[in-house]
């Protein structure tokens, strides 16, 4: 079987899980596409999962109420072994890329990290992935009784519900005692669509000028067109915006249909997080700004004048 560890939050399945289902079907690996749902009070998530997968394994346990790398790794490895999975697919989120290597070590399996494509070449599973701050695309492959893969969000189409819903089964797990104690959590909630799920993103850079301008221009424009909000590291370092909004090497990787950069210079570390967006739109007063080299559409001009005009025009 192909085992996928489902990503979900707030009681519903994440888009990344639907993308992993597509990745599983594209991989050319054999067996039923199986979603493993870990958590507590996850009945609704399991139902959603059953609509897209051949079967769903559910571990609804208090110990799994919040994500924990060691528990998630133990659960995935145990189910992979019991189900004789030939492939384990994990999300390329921060948490997914944190526990996937542990699963690989537990299974003695090779690990293909952050795949943007998957295919079978004989016995080998082949993947493409970005390296060198996303400037290079490498093709790698591995084989073995089982291969662990993490899949980069936004790289595959979301799977549509299948004609027939998959069966749901409860599974029993032997879990270790968690060794990391979480003493506090600060969740950066946003009323907007999550960055990694947004189809349009408006990002503000230092050129926006101030936190007040950020709210007026970046959030204002995002709200007018129903987009997610991103920020550069310069803006996050200045304390204007939360780190959760940072796009780039040390922030999030996004590939929306449209990425609109306001007052962003386009440093490599920023490009590495958004350079694969389908359309890049830049507004910058400096015609030489590197962001224009990757832009599909660009306005050279002062954003203080152009963005209010954009917001007004978009509301019409």
């Amino acid at each position: 079987m192909i085992l996928i560890v489902a990503e979900h939050s707030g009681g519903s399945l994440a888009k990344s899980t639907l993308e992993m289902v597509t990745a599983a079907r594209a991989s050319g690996r054999e067996g039923p596409v199986t979603l493993l749902v870990l958590g507590q009070g996850i009945g609704a998530v399991a139902k959603e999962a059953a609509a897209v997968a051949d079967q769903v394994l559910v571990a609804d346990l208090p110990a799994l109420a919040t994500y924990n790398a060691e528990l998630w790794a133990a659960a995935a490895a145990q189910i992979a072994q019991e189900g004789e999975a030939n492939t384990v697919i994990i999300g390329g989120s921060r948490s997914g890329r944190e526990f996937a290597p542990r699963v690989a070590v537990k299974l003695g399996a090779p690990y293909l990290e952050d795949a943007i494509s998957l295919s079978s070449e004989g016995a080998a599973l082949r993947a493409q992935r970005y390296t060198y701050l996303a400037r290079v695309t490498e093709t790698v492959e591995a084989e073995g009784p089982v291969v662990v893969v993490s899949v980069k969000p936004g790289s595959f189409q979301a799977a549509a519900p299948a004609a027939q819903a998959g069966e749901e089964y409860d599974v029993e797990l032997e879990l270790p005692a968690p060794r990391v104690e979480i003493t506090g959590r600060s969740v950066e909630k946003s009323s907007r669509v999550a960055l990694t799920e947004a189809d349009v993103i408006v990002t503000g850079g230092r050129g926006v000028g101030s936190p007040e301008n950020f709210a007026a221009y970046v959030e204002g424009f995002a709200d007018a067109i129903g987009a997610g909000v991103g920020a550069t590291r310069a803006v996050v370092d200045a304390g204007w915006r939360p780190y959760a909004e940072q796009v780039g090497q040390t922030g999030k990787t996004v590939q929306p249909g449209a990425y609109i950069a306001l007052g962003v210079s386009g440093a490599v570390q920023h490009l590495s997080g958004m350079g694969k967006s389908k359309n890049i739109i830049a507004i910058n007063k400096d015609a030489e700004a590197p962001i224009f080299k990757v832009a599909d559409y660009g306005i050279v001009g002062d954003l203080n004048q152009i963005v209010p005009a954009l917001i007004e025009a978009a509301k019409k």
Partner: protein, 253 residues
């Protein structure tokens, strides 16, 4: 406690990357110590300076000869000694973690610091894989760290925000921006570093083989439309852009 801090020498972010044959060729490319690893080196030094019981700080590099420079940077910043397992073989992170775990055991390390995402192979796997091999907990994307006795505490980023944590040593910590500001090596320290030990270890003593094969590499540049609009008349520019986004790119309703 002994701290093991991992370093790699990677292309400078602004350097041009070229492909030769089926792989990235770094000949003639400006290379520097990976910024993420530098945070790890700095943090090890700060833990000691902050009063944690740190017996020794060891920098470890596994890879081609160029990594010597990363080790020299770490020595000049203040680590006590360095180990270089010099090899031109290509390893994936999970295979490499077997070697790191072996060094950690031999040296009796109680804390391993690794960059959160290396700037050459864009991987986040080495820290977690090493932790699993050693049976240790891991804290990834850490931006605040304290060690008191055997207790590690701090803060790190997670998918939807951040968490404060506590764990017992030994542990693996992966670093990132915000953890600290790495120091520049001073001239006296660079001079002193020349006398510090930089041990070369034979890769044959650390049997591990890459389980992932490189098939090819390419630099893909996506053709962009580069449709530039003059912003002198803001209203006209705004209207033109929205029109293009709606009717040409079809990304807005």
């Amino acid at each position: 406690m002994k701290i093991l801090t991992l370093v790699r020498q990677v292309p400078d972010a602004e350097a041009r990357i070229k492909i030769q044959g089926q792989t990235v060729d770094l000949d003639g490319t400006t290379v520097v110590i990976d910024g993420m690893d530098e945070y790890g080196v700095e943090e090890a030094l700060r833990l000691r300076e902050g009063g944690a019981q740190v017996e020794e700080i060891i920098a470890l590099a596994i890879g081609p000869k160029r990594n010597e420079d990363a080790l020299r940077t770490a020595l000049a910043m203040g680590v006590d000694r360095a180990i270089h397992i010099e090899t031109d073989a290509r390893y994936d992170a999970v295979s490499l973690s077997a070697m790191v775990a072996q060094v950690a055991q031999q040296e009796g390390a109680g804390l391993i610091l690794v960059g959160g995402q290396e700037a050459d192979w864009d991987s986040q796997a080495l820290g977690a894989a090493t932790a699993e091999r050693l049976g240790w907990p891991q804290l990834t994307w850490t931006n605040e760290l304290k060690v008191e006795g055997d207790t590690l505490s701090g803060r790190h980023d997670v998918d939807d925000g951040n968490e404060s944590f506590r764990a017992s040593l030994p542990a693996v910590v992966t670093t990132q921006q915000g953890l600290n500001e790495p120091r520049y090596p001073t001239l006296p320290n660079i001079m002193k570093a020349k006398k510090k030990e930089l041990r070369k270890d034979d890769p044959a003593s650390y049997p591990s083989q890459s389980a992932v094969r490189l098939v090819g590499a390419e630099i893909q540049t996506r053709a962009r439309r580069n449709h530039m609009i003059d912003g002198k008349d803001p209203q006209a520019a705004a209207a033109e852009l929205l029109n293009l986004l709606r009717n040409e790119a079809k990304v807005l309703a």
